[in-house]
Amino acid sequence: MNPNRMLKAGEMFTLLFILLSLKATDATASLFTQKTQNAFWYMPIISLLVILPSLLLLLHLLKKYQDKNLIELIETIMGSLVSKIIGLIIFLSSFLLMGFSYRGYVEQINFLYFPETPYVILSLIFFTIVYFAAKKGWEVIGFTTKIFLPFFVLSSVILIILILNDLVIERVFPIFGSGDIIVLREGALKGSIFIELFLITIAYTSFKKTDFFRKGFVLGLIFSIISIICFFFIYATTFDYNSIAKMSYPFHDITQYVNLGGYLTNIETFFMIFWLLGSFLRYAIYLYLVTWIISATFHIEHIESLLLPVGFLGLIIGVISKNLIINEFTFYNSILNYLTFFYIGFPILLWLISSLKGEYRKK
């Protein structure tokens, strides 16, 4: 119980919502469609089901050992050395994912809206604002997200209403896309797209009451899943099964597709504004969480001083790949596939060791 903290369930909900539901707007959709074609719209559910037991185990453990965040929990259960190794693995994995998905987002802005600008300049500008927002601290990020979320949701709702006319529900069939085994395997392998759910447990103690964390967590998860499925469904029914695999940025394609009556035909910039706001905030949250993990692992008190090195190095990682295809479909894809096993495994390991140690009884 932290009476000095000001964050409540509402802020947790908005933080998780922005972290997760913006996945519907980037190249994750095209990543899914590569193997499964038009069955990708229910794949997030399969991925969530695969990762859900471990997630629930982790939450159960956090509730048992009150007032400990993720890294402190691992340290208590597993001891100092092993917790440092696990913490380092969590940090490296999320750091790499952050770097690669950063490339995806900036590449979208570059390709669609500012084609003449060099990639590096645009990524530096993006990074400046992300760093500035993250530097102010966790509470400020929570408040800012709270203020911007209604606008983002409103623009998504307007977009959905406008595209409803162009949906063709029959395009959902064949339900199993390129084959049921393939769909199940791909869905299971991509469980780690929900890695942010694990990352955000580092903020377990930063809310006014840990109840607020859990309430906001559950609500945020439900609403993000609904929003992701909704958007994926719209992509599947707007773009048919062959062309969807060729599409890099389905969200932006949809915004270019809609029009507001006969007069306002090009309104994609309007949706771009809110998408930009959402992605700035998403990266601010992501950067803060990743830095928090490394600071907690090595007991560094002042998180804000590590933001610049971690963020800048993440930016550099984005520059590695030659183009978006290699970035998304090779690097990002393989990291996601390997990480699923780690993130399914480590909460089970924690729980086993914890029950063996008999530390279930509160001290």
Binding site: E11, F114, I125, F143
Partner: protein
């Protein structure tokens, strides 16, 4: 290593002088002999032609002097209530205590006894005449101040259609009396202190005991006590010394000229700071939404007030974003403008040799210059010049091809929008932030505008005013207080006070007071 020594040497040279309060002030007591007192006072007040020292005899026997400053004291009352009764010869008088003699003879309500020179000087400077008697170590300060002051007029900067029209004046006693007339409870406390080495300005912290949180009052007092300065001339000086975030463009204290604003905020649990010599009172703590509320909202009916509040929110966004959106759309995102409108705008911009961002800067700077100049123009010339400015500059500039007609419209709408904000300090902050946003829009398009917007909101989220987050009740969300921010709920629904800091007195009126024709007798 040598540059470190150099740096520390430089630091010593530029070191600030020691704070004034460190210099010890001796308290020297008055002399028993009135002649020595007279000599001392004449030397202290040498070259002060408005200092009057009048020797006289009490009852024809005892030497005494009267000291006052011309213009600050009520000379008629001095003659009638002090000199006449004291100078009256009384044969039956023995050598009784002079103190009780003076006190019983003098027909003044406020008489204080002073022992030291410093107290006497302070009393004389505040306008209280001093009577010193021979062979008596105590001086008497008489509360007979009177000076010319401005009469109570409607405040210039905060005009309302419906509501009281009194505004504060420069005299502290008149201001406190105006607040007392509205809040007549003895729970309205007024603690005074003096700030300023030379001006010794009287500052009053006022609050309602039982509603306000005492930690807030303590914090205000501590911050005011820390101020160490030569003189305070206006509450704006105090504001800069006690605010939480000195580098932020946003004001963190509400400054107002109206007593009903002060009373309303005191009833909600805030504290007010009144400064002698300034008609502006400071109210702490405030949130950003206080600057968007006007007194009229509370005196009009709730539907009208809600509609006008929404209008203000829309216009504040327009005043911040319209020029930058115009520049961003025209320079980077022309595809977003509908084709017919784009063609007509392109046609009107054909003659203009400047890019959109330069046009905007020319027009905005001209507008700001006109507004600033308009403040200082005498009334007769003022209205003529503003019309001339609008017509000539707008019309002539367009026909000369320096700016385009849509630009003039954008600047005019932005200007009008910025005047819908009720508080000048917030309006001017938003106007100033507009310029970097235009620059960002011109260089980075909508990405720049969003960048600037996020920076502004992140900055505002970090601000606190005496512990209250600046953007409360939006973030952190307090649903019960939203009914006075986003809209104005009817008076019979505003049952709770806003939670500011610490513990608070929640209920301000009994619930279920909704009026109706069938309510009848209770």
């Amino acid at each position: 290593m040598s540059w470190k020594i150099l740096k520390s040497k430089k630091k010593k040279k530029n070191a600030a002088p020691k704070p004034l309060s460190n210099q010890k002030q001796e308290q020297s007591s008055l002399f028993t002999s009135v002649k020595e007192n007279e000599k001392e006072f004449r030397s202290i007040y040498s070259d002060c032609s408005d200092f009057i020292l009048r020797p006289f005899l009490i009852g024809g026997k005892y030497d005494a002097i009267l000291l006052y400053i011309e213009g600050l004291s009520n000379t008629d009352e001095i003659d009638d209530s002090v000199l006449s009764p004291l100078m009256e010869k009384n044969e039956n008088q023995n050598d009784i205590q002079i103190g009780s003699l003076v006190k019983s003879q003098v027909a003044v309500s406020d008489v204080k006894e002073l022992q030291t020179f410093e107290d006497c000087i302070q009393a004389i400077s505040s306008g209280n005449p001093i009577v010193l008697v021979d062979k008596y170590k105590t001086g008497f300060s008489l509360g007979l101040t009177k000076w010319e002051k401005r009469s109570i007029e409607p405040p210039e900067a905060e005009k309302v259609i419906r509501g009281p029209r009194e505004g504060f004046v420069e005299t502290l006693a008149v201001n406190t009396s105006m607040i007392r007339r509205q809040i007549r409870s003895p729970k309205l406390k007024m603690q005074s202190m003096e700030i300023g080495k030379y001006t010794k300005t009287k500052v009053i912290i006022t609050y309602i005991d039982g509603i306000v949180d005492h930690t807030l009052v303590e914090e205000v007092k501590n911050r005011l006590k820390r101020i160490d300065i030569d003189g305070i001339l206006d509450s704006g000086v105090i504001e800069e010394f006690i605010e939480d975030h000195p580098y932020s463009p946003f004001p963190q204290m509400l400054d107002t000229e109206r007593p009903d604003t002060v009373s309303g905020n005191l009833l909600e649990g805030r504290a007010a700071i009144l400064v002698d010599g300034s008609p502006f009172a400071l109210i702490v703590p405030t949130t950003f939404y206080s600057f968007l509320q006007s007194n009229e909202d509370y005196y009009s009916r709730f539907l009208i007030a809600t509609a006008i509040r929404w209008l203000r929110f829309i216009f504040i966004i327009i005043s911040l974003l319209l020029p930058s959106l115009y520049v961003a759309l025209l320079t980077f995102h022309q595809e977003m403008i509908p084709t017919a409108l784009l063609i007509s705008m392109a046609a009107s911009r054909e003659q203009v040799p400047f890019p959109a961002i330069v046009e905007v800067f020319i027009m905005e700077i001209t507008f700001e210059a006109l507004r600033e100049a308009g403040l200082r123009l005498p009334k007769q010339v003022g209205s003529a010049v503003s019309i001339v400015g609008a017509l000539v500059i707008g019309e002539a500039a367009v026909s000369a091809g320096i700016v385009s007609a849509p630009m003039v419209i954008v600047v005019a709408i932005t200007g009008i929008a910025s005047f819908t904000v009720p508080r000048y300090s917030a309006a001017i902050a938003i106007r100033m932030i507009r310029f970097p946003l235009v620059l960002l829009a011109g260089t980075l398009g909508l990405l720049g505008v969003m960048l600037g917007l996020i920076m502004i909101i992140v900055h505002m989220s970090t601000l606190r005013s005496f512990g209250v987050p600046y953007l409360s009740p939006m973030a952190p969300m307090k649903l019960s207080e939203m009914k006075d921010t986003m809209m104005r709920a009817p008076w019979w629904k505003l049952n709770t006070r806003p939670h500011l800091t610490g513990d608070y007195n929640k209920y301000r009126q009994s619930p279920e007071q909704k009026p109706g024709p069938n309510k009848g007798k209770q």
